[in-house]
């Protein structure tokens, strides 16, 4: 059975506040999709509409051929992992995990068998009789996951499930969650505001901002080719330059103050139109003042090379952030630190260069 999740033009108003506006996407069975965005962007509301805790003001939610827009939450083949886990404090671990099965009138012996199996899957075997308050945060997280998975939902909804864990545990769980998802082949819809988490785990990322979809794509697409100013700024560090589009014969550029950034000519843009460009710091390489940029470009004809002055060097361990000014315009580049002796000194002349295809023209 293949059940693709369809979210069709869904809008949600809370009184006069519009939380979600005309959001559409589809998730194929077995995919890991992340709804990513800052708090208040509508990602949790979207997830809750899929779970059935909110009814869309407009639009439909379908699972395969089945319209579940107004289906009660307890009738939907979706399961949710809550941000605060929502484990029942008055029930044991086993009763928590087996709750969904009990609701489906699964006989007690089959239930305990499946609970045991599920606890093994989350690598916490034999803790059926423990109380919830005896578990650590990480263990609670796993139990919440087990409770949601035991009913074999078609779609697992996860609302910032790792938010309460410390950094190290969170990183481990990211990998484990991804592995589990691939192993079980269940569709995961994951909500987070942590871009790194999204990049690590997702097959596809949907970026929401103020209730609307900004961009969707694979982690590589989202990171390497942001299409809007918001996405470029929200995901990773970047150099954002605002300027105007200038076409000159068969070459084109965005004039950003003192810096002209050459780009491929755009059919959609008119001369003089405001545009922004984004260049990731790690795509820029540094040369000395003589202009022999080491370059990570594979062909010099597509490389952009600029002269500037080193303003500041911020050492961060494995990398260093180097701030360059080019006639008052500041750019940041990131360099692997192999040898601290090779770091440039502030005030020195330098050239910087990057491959033109790493210049992202932002249309929104």
């Amino acid at each position: 059975m293949t059940s693709t999740l369809h979210v069709d033009s869904v809008t949600k108003d809370f009184g006069s506040v519009r939380a979600v506006e005309d959001v559409s996407f589809t998730v194929e069975q077995g995919k890991f999709v992340t709804l990513l965005g800052p708090s208040g962007c509508g990602k949790t509301t979207t997830l809750r509409m899929i779970a059935g805790f909110e009814t869309p003001t407009e639009g439909r939610v379908r699972l395969g051929d089945h319209d579940i827009t107004t289906e009660e939450p307890y009738l939907r083949p979706t399961s949710m992992v809550f941000q605060n886990y929502a484990l029942f404090p008055h029930k044991t671990v086993g009763e928590n995990v087996g709750f969904g099965l009990k609701m489906r009138d699964v006989p007690a012996d089959e239930r305990s068998e499946r609970i045991a199996k599920m606890l093994e899957l989350i690598e916490l075997p034999g803790i059926e009789n423990r109380g919830i308050d005896e578990l650590s945060g990480g263990q609670q997280q796993r139990v919440a996951l087990a409770r949601a998975l035991i009913t074999e939902p078609e779609v697992l909804l996860l609302d910032e499930p790792l938010g309460a864990l410390d950094l190290k545990l969170r990183k481990n769980m990211q990998v484990e969650l991804k592995n589990l998802q691939e192993e079980l082949g269940i569709t995961f819809v994951y909500v987070t505001h942590d871009q790194e988490e999204a990049l690590t785990m997702s097959d596809e990322i949907i970026i929401l901002n103020e209730g609307e979809i900004e961009q969707r794509g694979t982690p590589t697409e989202i990171y390497e080719s942001p299409q809007t100013r918001f996405v470029a700024d929200f995901i990773g560090d970047t150099n954002l330059l605002d300027g105007t589009y200038v076409e000159n014969g068969n070459s084109a550029a965005v004039e950003c103050g003192s810096v002209d950034v050459p780009i491929d000519s755009l059919s959609a843009a008119a001369d003089g139109q405001s545009l922004s460009v984004s260049i990731r710091p790690e795509k820029i390489s540094l040369g000395d003042g003589a202009g022999t940029g080491t370059g990570n470009g594979n062909g010099n004809e597509t490389a952009v090379t600029l002269r500037g002055e080193v303003e500041d060097v911020i050492y961060q361990g494995n990398v260093a952030k180097i701030h360059i000014t080019i006639d008052g315009t500041e750019l940041v580049l990131e360099q692997q630190v192999i040898d601290t002796v090779n770091l440039p000194t502030p005030g020195s002349e330098c050239t910087i260069s990057w491959d033109q295809e790493n210049t992202n023209v932002l249309t929104g």
Binding site: M1, Y74, L101, R104, T151, P153, E154
Partner: protein, 326 residues
Amino acid sequence: MSSQDDVAADAVRPQPTPETGTLRERVLEWADSEVFKGAISLGPILLLLTVFYAVPVALLLVYSIFVEDPFASGLTFEHFSRFVDVSAITSLQFSELSYVRLLGRSIGIAVIVTVLSLVISYPITYYLGQHAPERWKIALVMLVIIPFWTSYLIRTYAWIPILSNNGFINSALTTVGLPSLPLLNNYVGSIIGLVYVFVPFTILPLYASMEGLDSSLIEAARDLGASRWEAFREVVFPLTLPGALAGGVFVFIKTAAAYVTPSLLGGTSGRMYAQVIETQFGTAFNWNFGAALAVILVVVVLGTIWIAMRWGIDVKGSRGLGGGGL
């Protein structure tokens, strides 16, 4: 996954149509609305409150404006004018005081009791809220709450063997050669008993305020050179006054309507207004006049609450502190 499908198949839910037009749909939509569900769950209770609370109290209002049997006799204002008639020598038992003066005395006693309750409440709540060791705190606060939930009748009459002429206090006084004091069967007895019974109403809200007071404010005051007393006067007192006043309003209205304590401890000079209301129903059998006296007491109580709320005192604030009695 099959169990999921069963659940889904069992649900014979009509596909809802987005258009709302027919009466049936509108009724269904209304039946699903929050107000309706709220009304359903509160309806029976509101009905109960109306029939068994509002009607009995309203019945007193009705009695107060009829000569005798409600609706069977004429309307009158005579019961209220009898109240304000200062020259009236009232019922035989209490000839020494008019009803107006008795009400005035009750209010006066209520003011004294309220002030005393506040004075007593401040030190203990300051200690419990700011200084009590953490591990003892819950136990100490429970010790304050528990008497609140025990029989006020017993706790009131317990003062008789303490205050009477041959009671504990006077026995102790005469043993050391001091004259005995008249503490029982006068207004002193009423006041002591009332403060005792009602002081938890100021302690509990004041404790909540003290507990919520950021202790670094006191430390800041001390750091800036304030003595203990100055820190209390300048920082603690103004910040906790709203809690104290909320409790104070409760003590006031409870005292103004007190019946049990003055009956047991007050004698003649401690007699209070609620006692003459009871007399009209108990021995004098003048329900209409008694009802008028009751209506006047209700007006005093509601007026006090109204004034307190106009002054910005959060009267509701003190009600949550769960108190027994009275």
